[in-house]
Symmetry: C2
DNA sequence: CACCGGATTGACTGGTTAGTCAACCGAAGG
DNA sequence: CCTTCGGTTGACTAACCAGTCAATCCGGTG
């Protein structure tokens, strides 16, 4: 075991990539930008990653797996559905609070661009939907949620609301502050569960 | 007035671009793909447009202006807020039904990628939000909608839900059919206005 | 100390493509 | 019939950049 490098260059590269992708966008930035930002030689990027795409891939999958785990964990509790949704929204919003650049990259470059990248991503995104659908369906069976609204649409509304709020922050269309983050969690869930109608 | 060309090549190019962007993605396709698809010489694209970007720009702005007009029109009526939202959701979904490729391009390449493109787009998108916010605020004043939920969040939830459903169709995560389109309109509005809770 | 192998370097290449431009075409008008 | 001029053509270029690779470094091992 000759391991335990003082600095993990691979991690350095990934972290630099987040900053560069967030700042310049995946398509506009050059691999050399990532290397420079990481303070590392150009070639080292290709020592750790097969391609520029794979750097983005890795960032996305790494984070998405954490998200899936969080949803699974919430799903396993026996909280009321509304609180489960609050936890899920909370987790995603806190992810953004903790590392806005990473979430920006995931949303802007991956979530919608699932096009360019393989079916891996669509599959992973679909997994998240499926898990949330499970939460909704269980709530419908237990009578917590009304059954007229198909769970697929409920999920899209819920997840779409969250992503749209993040997008609003990312593009400066919505104010940002600690208070706003907390408010958002509450209001998204209030809207989706309680509805806007008086 | 020596006008009235038999075929409007400019239009031909725009329509071809929609197909190519939808099929291959904006970044992956080449300008020659657009020219070929349109059955037109490469150089003609640059006769009508300053750049590849401007082709996408034009497609987006053209369609978005129509959307803004539709929202303004709905806003001007004195229907109940819930019906206004139904009309707006309906307009967007019908846009997709009528020309899925165009909506795909707008959502996948512009709405989220507002990054790469100028502030023009963010501004235009913000205009749509502002108009919908007007609808919500008026409803809150009239007591149709409850006032606890800030209108900004309500708008994000509503618009986010719509866009997410379209995204689901685009990426094949949601079934598509005439019936689904109509259902979606109803269920999105039901969710946002009435809430999921029983 | 000599050797090994993985980490690290950065110059170079091969392929790609957005955008340019000089020439060509054909209808309208004189 | 000739001229004009916008529309149209497509070969060409200048730049760009992802990915390769041969060389170097360095810590560990026997």
């Amino acid at each position: 075991m000759t391991k335990a490098a003082p600095v993990d260059k691979r991690r350095l590269i990934l972290d630099a990539a987040v900053r560069v992708f967030a700042r310049e966008g995946f398509h506009k930035c050059r691999v050399s930008d990532i290397a420079d930002e990481a303070g590392v030689a150009y070639g080292l990027v290709y020592h750790y990653f097969k391609s520029k795409d794979q750097v983005l891939d890795t960032l996305f999958l790494e984070r998405w797996e954490v998200l899936l785990e969080a949803i699974r964990h919430t799903d396993a509790t026996d909280l009321p559905a509304e609180q489960k949704l609050h936890q899920i929204a909370g987790f995603i919003i806190d992810s953004y609070r903790h590392d806005p650049d990473l979430m920006k990259v995931i949303i802007v470059e991956v979530t919608r661009a699932a096009n360019s990248f393989g079916a891996v991503h669509i599959g992973k995104i679909g997994e998240a939907y499926a898990l949330i659908r499970g939460v909704v369906e269980k709530a419908q069976e237990r009578g917590e949620f009304r059954a007229e609204i198909p769970a697929e649409f409920a999920v899209m509304s819920f997840y779409g609301a969250i992503e749209q709020v993040l997008t609003g922050w990312i593009f400066g269309l919505l104010d940002e502050s600690e208070a706003e983050y907390e408010d958002a969690k509450v209001h998204i869930v209030q809207t989706i569960c309680g509805g806007l109608a008086a």
